[in-house]
């Protein structure tokens, strides 16, 4: 068994147990959490180094030959996503630690640390699971942890929001289970490589129904229109550190699962038209929702929904260029969303809320904060030379290469969405950042910058700065990133490499 593949989810689970034991000593608990995540980041970096040229690493638990045992698979895409997600998890953990040190949060750190690490384990397992049932287990670990996290510091609003969140996620989990039962009845296996072999021979109508079912299952979790209603109601209510991770990672894990199942298990033509229509609807409906909102967190949540559409759009194109664009977009979007929600958290520290009606002059209150908002926000809208521009150009080029009315409509919707995102961002900018600050905001700043809060606030600002820097680094490193994206896309499109890596040379 290849230990490299086990580390991303075994180590966080161990870390969760250790941090639970250390709950009476906050300092050692924080160190244990940060060390655990650093180990995962290092391991993911090694994984990406080993797979960036298109190699697919596999590991059979207990040396049971596939498709009998539990298979873990790390292809370039999975490795890249494990690396990016664990890095973001680490930075957000440090931000949360800073917040706790400054006594600026109402979260319960004793509970937060173990559950946060369990969430990490679930995210990593979802990325590297080689069979459908393990993907289900990974999702469940991640979601169960998220149910507990969203109720941290329970207020009436949070309990209500988490009720909606839990019920919606659970519905999708049950549909997932039903999908697994149907696939198992049809093929007699849950190993994804094995299913890919056997599903090709299945009747096309059945395959299409299954493809749609799996798209609905993951579509609910990825919040694609028309299954997005739960997201803007639940994410903004949670604590900042938690909504940052949810916005950055949970929806992307679902997008990854959509890509994995639709490329590996099902044929490209099965539901690509449906995917395209849903992608266009998601882009446009999401951003129109964002324009109607008057709370920064809610605007960001709707923008999140809207930009999921771009990733589905790239998948629906079904070419290597399209999928490579999706990979770059995934990385860009994980980093930028996390940054923007961390900035919202800092705004909450200064103002106490994020409603646009009562915020003015943030630039004068904290110039650093304004810069930290401005750079990722422009990146989200896709202005050059930010990472969002590079990702969008990759997608649009792929769309032009594909051609046809649907791809051109998608491209038009994408451009329109980018423009509307820019409008939404400038609405926030002109209202919240310009003007003379209100007196209570200046008092809050004076209070935060003196006394015991100061160190904590510094760590939070520094970590937000680190995320901004990572976002800029994504743009600078876009050359190698696009190269990895293309390798990953070719692996995804040519399912044979995946099947051979899992089942051995004898297959197919």
């Amino acid at each position: 068994m290849n230990a490299l593949l086990a580390v991303p989810f075994v180590v966080p689970l161990l870390g969760a147990a250790i941090t639970l034991l250390l709950r009476r000593t906050p300092r050692s608990q924080r160190i244990a959490g940060a060390v655990t995540l650093s180990v995962v980041v290092a391991d993911a970096a090694v994984l990406l180094w080993r797979t960036h040229d298109g190699t697919i690493l596999t590991s059979q638990a207990g040396d049971w030959p596939a498709p009998l045992g539990i298979t873990l698979v790390a292809d370039p895409m999975a490795s890249l996503l494990v690396l990016v997600s664990s890095a973001v998890l680490l930075v957000v953990l440090l931000y949360a630690i800073g917040q706790d040190i400054g006594g600026l949060s109402r979260a319960t750190p004793q509970v937060f640390h173990p559950i946060y690490l369990v969430l990490t384990a679930g995210v990593s397992l979802s990325f590297i699971a080689g069979d459908l049932f393990n993907l289900f287990v990974g999702f469940e670990i991640m979601l169960t942890a998220s149910y507990a996290l969203i109720t941290q510091a329970p207020t009436r609003a949070r309990v209500r929001a988490s009720m909606i969140y839990t019920v919606v996620s659970l519905t999708s989990s049950i549909l997932f289970l039903t999908g697994i039962a149907l696939v198992y009845a049809l093929t007699g296996t849950v190993n994804m490589a094995d299913i890919a072999e056997k599903l090709g021979a299945a009747p096309p109508e059945l395959r299409m129904v299954l493809a749609l079912l799996f798209f609905v299952v993951f579509g609910i979790k990825a919040a694609v229109v028309p299954m997005h209603f739960w997201l803007p109601d639940s994410y903004p209510v949670a604590l900042t550190r938690i909504s940052a991770i949810f916005a950055a990672l949970l929806t992307k894990v679902a997008v990854y699962a959509i890509i994995r199942t639709q490329t590996l298990l099902f044929l490209r033509d099965d539901i690509s038209t449906v995917l395209m229509v849903v992608a266009i609807a998601t882009m446009v409906v999401g951003i129109l929702g964002a324009l109607a909102q008057s709370d920064i967190n809610r605007i960001m949540s709707f923008a999140l929904v809207s930009h999921i559409g771009f990733m589905i759009f790239g998948l629906a194109l079904g070419t290597a260029a399209g999928l490579a664009g999706v990979v770059v977009y995934l990385v860009h979007h994980i980093v930028v969303q996390a940054t923007l929600f961390l900035v919202n958290g800092l705004i909450r520290q200064y103002v106490g809320h994020t409603s646009l009606a009562a915020i003015r002059g943030l630039t004068a209150v904290s110039p650093a904060l304004a810069l930290f908002f401005f750079l990722p926000a422009l990146s989200l809208a896709g202005l050059p030379p930010m990472s969002g521009f590079i990702a969008k150009v990759a997608l649009f080029q792929a769309a032009v290469a594909v051609g046809g009315p649907l791809a051109w409509t998608g491209l038009a919707a994408g451009v329109l969405t980018s423009l509307l995102t820019l409008i939404a961002i400038f609405r926030i900018w002109t209202r919240a950042f310009w003007g003379t600050p209100r007196q209570d905001m200046l008092e809050a700043r004076a209070r935060l910058r003196s006394g015991s809060n100061r160190g904590g606030l510094r760590i939070m600002t520094a970590m937000t700065g680190v995320m901004v820097a990572v976002g800029v680094a994504v743009a600078v490193a876009s050359g190698p990133l696009t190269a990895v994206g293309f390798t990953a896309a070719e692996d995804l499109l040519d399912g044979r490499a995946y099947v051979t890596a899992v089942l051995g040379e004898g297959a197919r």
């Binding site: 049932f133 287990v137 169960t144 149910y147 109720t151 009436r156 309990v159 009720m163 989990s173 039962a181």
Partner: protein
Amino acid sequence: MSTPSFLLVVTVAVLYSSGFYLLLQRSLMRVVFGILILGHAANLSLLLTDVAITLPPLLGGREGEMSDPLPHAMALTAIVITFGVTTFLLALAYRVWLGDENDEVPDDLEDRRISSLTEPEDSS
């Protein structure tokens, strides 16, 4: 693959439809019951994948007479997960009830505010 028992198929269908019906109710208690019933439906449909499911998943009986153990294992895992999450949901529903003295899903205030806007807020 031979066909599974007709009675089981009907049972699964009834469970799914009543589960989704309950899920669409406003009262949170009914929603929790809906989730419970849907969980049963999914577990039963896992068992539907094998026609010999009534036999024990053990070797040693007469030749060829055993059921596939994998659906059993998957159903067990799923039961544990739905059980755990249902307890959590019950606790949440109780907290909602403690806070508000009712357990109905409220209207989305933000959405209602926006739909009641007749003109852009900037003009005010």
